[in-house]
Symmetry: C2
Subunit: 445 residues, 2 copies
Amino acid sequence: MKNICLQTRRTELLNALDGQTAIIPAGLPVSRNFPANQYPFRASSHFLHCVGLNLPGAILVLDDQGACLYVQRPDADDALWHGARPTVREWSQALDIKTGYLDELVYHPKSMVLPAMDGQSNALLSAELNRPISGGRNDPVDDPLAQAMVASRLCHDQWAIDQLSRAAQVTAEAHELARDRLHAGLSCQAVWAAMLSYFQDHGMSYAYNPIITPAGEVLHQHDLRAQLRTGDMVLLDVGAETESGYAADVTRTWPVGQTMSPTQSAIHAVVSAAHKAAIELIKPGVEYRAIHRQACLTLVRGLCDLGLLIGNPMDLVEDNMHTLFFPHGVGHLLGLDVHDMEDLGDRAGYAPGRRRSELFGWSFLRLDRPLEHGMLVTVEPGFYQVDDLKRRFLNHPYKAQFVNWSELDAYSDVRGVRIEDDILVTADGWCNLSAPADDARMVKR
Amino acid sequence: MKNICLQTRRTELLNALDGQTAIIPAGLPVSRNFPANQYPFRASSHFLHCVGLNLPGAILVLDDQGACLYVQRPDADDALWHGARPTVREWSQALDIKTGYLDELVYHPKSMVLPAMDGQSNALLSAELNRPISGGRNDPVDDPLAQAMVASRLCHDQWAIDQLSRAAQVTAEAHELARDRLHAGLSCQAVWAAMLSYFQDHGMSYAYNPIITPAGEVLHQHDLRAQLRTGDMVLLDVGAETESGYAADVTRTWPVGQTMSPTQSAIHAVVSAAHKAAIELIKPGVEYRAIHRQACLTLVRGLCDLGLLIGNPMDLVEDNMHTLFFPHGVGHLLGLDVHDMEDLGDRAGYAPGRRRSELFGWSFLRLDRPLEHGMLVTVEPGFYQVDDLKRRFLNHPYKAQFVNWSELDAYSDVRGVRIEDDILVTADGWCNLSAPADDARMVKR
């Protein structure tokens, strides 16, 4: 695979490093219940961004000599157990990159490292570099390298957009397949089986553990054991991942048996309006937090129209009343990671100098940057009835007055609704990568 | 789930520990590409053996106070993000075990630990116990505890047998489903999608990364990208795992399009005869290495009959000639791990005082113990044409003479054949858990 985009990425990173040495390990397979029984290997996203292949144990080095990919040396047992491994020469020709074997790699003590997510890789590198390599969310990483990587991955090139479009399309198709199958008595596990099978038939895997649940109000409900019942609304947050690691992230909320109750239908329409209004605001230069605010405002306006909230919508958003029903952020960056570059903390999601708000709801916003051409973001407003949150608002001396609590009781068959699409920021607007192919909203402007 | 078998296991382990303290952690979820994006959690098999549930982060302590399960304390965010967690009181009632929160756990400095497979859990425990906790294949573990666990897990109780039977049956059914679908143009990935979907529809996951390949001679060929072609034999080594962690491990080799060539059919019959002869020897007291030898001998006899090997079958096995076509061991222990307790090295597979042979072929035998009532073992003879091995034998001054090399050329359409079933050692014979339900070989004696 001679991929000109990968070469360009490496060259630009090299230039940004200004002569310093960077180590970008793919990582090692992670053991499940015993050493030889491993989870399916998935290379570090930083490595995939530069090399495009899941090569266990490989390390990319960028230094004043250029880019060099170090791979495991084939050993005598390979033929019997794993099949013959390519030689460095074969790798070099296939990937158009300088290559070497890992045992030839000499570590520069001042190298910067972007750790992989597995502890074993980091421990090995720590030992070889003779200094700690961290990998956790709040750990310090080598900042100039992290910043260079954020700059390189923030806006997607053509190859990435092709991959992300394929992931989003296959994901949208799997959601439609699931919608047509929902019926009482089906388990959420069986819905997942059908969707995963569709991904695999298209040569893809999944980007994150799925949420498929009638209990949509539990935001990270990964338990798939529930059986669907007539009257349920099912929230499906499921995304494919291409072989090269690119993710989709799509949510739909559908009724079991294809008919919503009037209350379910009303709330679904409100969330859909918020989703549409937020997307339509997207273009380069617009602040993502304005997208979030637009979703909040449209949602609150709809809930006022239904008589569930009482007051002026702008004031209600100012008072953070939307968080009663919509506590999370409206979306995030999407790319090789479903929350792209979240391993680097908020370096990617937040513009330099910005920090997360401490205000409930806004504190969960994962993205606060002006949008740029080539960014891919999710837009995913929702409506949830979380008992714990309702209690907090009901008992709040000021906030309780803005809710028509008796009217809300009539909506008890709406537990959680979310609608999420993958929106590419184009030169002068947006393109919905996860819309059905015949949907007029696919390309705007 | 009040499970009397789990209680008995804990009590017997407690008795075996003779007042010493044992720590058995479930382990923590392992990150995939960023901290919040994790592989599906699977608890340590030692923990599952004693508790039966996949409880992330939980720790079982066995000491002179009895058994106590420590679980994560619910926090304020649970209701919103994960749903309400059970309290210790609820866990205690559900599992009929003494419980506490992890932050109440006081570590005994001399505790013995059975590490989980993830580095993070071990690092946390190391820090708390103030001594290194290892987890690798060759690392020392706390031996009295490891030996007690081997004794507890080696022969399966009724609940384990029920679980293992379900896993084996669903696996056998998935293999038949795959067999009926194999056709030219299908990808191995699509075959896997169908089998995994069948597991998931039955509330199960998979016990190990599947092997589904026309290149059956590569023993651990996990690449699923190949497309099936007319004339291929497909080797499928695929097993389900129940929700409580019990594994199946079944291999079938089938032709694309349901007709084998005469050469494929002849070799398949030889492997099948070896499989059958090996199984029929199984009963308590028999050495597993005799099962292995029986498979080798039957295989060699069949290959002599086909004119591929030349000589007396007993002498050929003595000369290790079977390893040209059958280099691996005939099977291994099966239970919560597909290679049961392989995280403890050869403690489980090899009787005390025994060590692996250094002889090629025999060195890969994972089990060398007298069989006991309640053990579950795989029986999986095979025939492979590995170019590298053939070269070694062809160039061997003594061994080359025993092979009819020109006759062997006629068998080039047989790359790899393996047949594997999961055989329970009964009181006076065996029971094939993975045989089709209507197969007369299901129960012997």
